[in-house]
Amino acid sequence: MADMRFIRHTGRKIIVTGHYGSGKTEFAVSLAMQYASLKEKIAVVDLDIINPYFRSRERREMFENSGVSVYGSTYDYEITAELPAIGAKLRAPLEDKDSRVIIDVGGNDAGAMVLNQYTKYFTDDDTTMLVVVNSNRPETATLSGALDHIKSIEDVTGLQIDAVVNNSHMLSETTAQTIINGYDLCLKICAETNKFFYCSCFPAGIVDPEQLTGLYGHLIPMGLHMRPAWLKS
């Protein structure tokens, strides 16, 4: 198991942004599982009103069994309501000073816009805003593409991204090299924007973390929690 002390150094409120398909939701879920394993009170707030499918509230039961509270952007177990409505209940974990909260934001600048109504919660020092980068997504495959993407999220939210998450993957076709290539891109992004490098992710059971020991920063194992078995091959 990787050394997880670093995850205690983030703020109480962790905002996860990124391109859709960067793996934001899987990352948010995996990170929440890490906190849950440390017996922290942890909640995931799903603010994704962009994506009608494969959202984190669909796995609510699994999370709750792991000790992760989930606050979805529609009503309870309803997964397909086409109304992109956000319930007032979502503010509960943001107000609860005893709970760490991971905010899973919708893809791109369009999805990040939803954050604006919660800005008052994020202007203190207790917030860490992350951007998840997958260098195999065409729009964020190059330094200039990734920088444009980050800027568009910062512009629309008025918030500064603090740190970069390397979640470069190709699902089951991910190799150690996929992750290393993404890591190189993320370090360039950090150098260019003066942001911290947060961590790299690796798909558990597909890539051996021993092959990634040369990378600076921590490694977070990712499970494909959101993907049905028949889509994993």
């Binding site: 009608p52 499918y53 397909t80 078995a229 028949w230 889509l231």
Partner: protein
């Protein structure tokens, strides 16, 4: 960057259309295909193309009719209720022999239904919801790579056959991510060269033109219309021979054969592995073209087959073609889900076993 990229289905299909020469997209938003108009509005202008948000799907299909009649390469998409609105236009395009690639990222119905995936537009896609005698070839991909390849190829085929082509996919394929290898972009066709590629197109009445081109679907004289429909059906007959596509395996010694297309075929493949571990031999027929339907593949079924199962996200639509393929030789049963519900591989395996017990296998 490696050769493959990780893309969302809707984006990958859009990019495949652009690389296949699409320069005109007309559409109206509907879930779960909205990433397509979003992508096209952003990307098409970079390739000298045009994106127009129509005021309705009826308008979109008729804009497609106009642009394609003028020789443009057109891709249009919608989801089930929106495709329903386009049916009249599709009949017009088929009659006027105007190429256009149309994609349904289908959801569930009837009516406005829901936004989760469905395959209940099978009749709509294969039988046509428009009026009159016409046919539209339909391809149903089961993975993003296959979808990319089929969209790309359909752009060419549609021109070659002077017929609309239909890509029948669903919300899962539209919304899911997979690594894909994108095809090389085809060279642009200059406006002045359209006449060379499409001598029938409405490119203007030049000084040296002996005849004026017309693109019409109105033929008021019965003998003229009958002759025209016969001409169309000669084309459809050729299409039945040349466009039929299917994947199959394990038919020669199967106890059960599952027929499934699109995303359900992937679930079925996993169910077949589960059943194989329990000693039950199950073969698969996966129609890739839904029209023309691969009826001939059913000739490969062995005498030992006990039952043929149609697995579909509908209440029994694919099963009608399965029955036509099977004839009276074997019993045919349905494993269906609807309403946006998706069976697990375990569910398909269990229901297959139950059917085997019922027929005394």
């Amino acid at each position: 960057m490696s050769e493959k990229v990780l893309m969302k289905g809707n984006e990958a299909f859009s990019e495949a259309a652009i690389r296949g020469g699409c320069r005109y997209y007309f559409g109206y938003p509907i879930t779960p295909q909205n990433e397509i108009p979003e992508y096209m509005s952003r990307e098409l202008p970079k390739h000298g193309g045009s994106f127009i948000q129509a005021e309705s799907e009826i308008c979109a299909i008729n804009m497609a009719y106009g642009a394609a009649a003028a020789g443009g390469r057109v891709f249009i998409t919608s989801s089930s209720p929106g495709i329903a609105l386009m049916q009249e236009g599709l009949s017009f395009l088929a009659s006027a022999e105007v190429p256009t690639v149309v994609m349904n990222v289908s959801r569930c119905g009837p009516g406005i239904g829901g936004i989760q995936p469905g395959q209940a537009d099978y009749f709509q896609a294969t039988r046509g919801g428009g009026n009159g005698d016409y046919r539209i070839p339909v391809f149903a991909p089961a993975s993003l790579q296959e979808g990319v390849d089929l969209v790309f190829e359909a752009m060419e085929l549609s021109d070659k056959w002077r017929n609309p082509f239909f890509i029948f996919t669903d919300g899962i394929l539209g919304q899911m991510m997979e690594p894909v290898k994108l095809p090389e972009k085809l060279p642009d066709i200059k406006r002045e060269d359209i006449k060379k590629h499409k001598p029938w197109a409405l490119t203007g009445y030049g000084e040296n033109d002996a005849e004026r081109n017309t693109v019409i679907s109105l033929r008021i004289q019965p003998d003229v219309l009958e002759k025209h429909v016969h001409k169309l059906f000669e084309k459809y007959e050729r299409a039945e021979k040349e466009l039929c596509r299917v994947e199959s395996f394990g038919l020669e010694d199967a106890d059960v054969v599952i027929v499934a297309y699109g995303i359900v075929a992937r679930i079925a493949k996993e169910a077949i592995e589960i059943l194989a571990e329990q000693g039950i031999k199950v073969g698969l027929i996966r129609p890739i073209s839904l029209w023309p339907f691969p009826y001939n593949e059913f000739k490969k079924l062995s005498r030992n087959t006990k039952v043929v199962i149609s697995a579909e996200l509908s209440m029994g639509q694919l099963i009608e073609d399965v029955k036509l393929g099977v004839g009276e030789r074997f019993p045919v049963r349905l494993v269906g889900r609807t309403g946006g519900m998706i069976p697990s591989s375990l569910e398909i395996a269990e229901r297959t076993k139950k059917i085997l017990e019922e027929i005394g296998g």
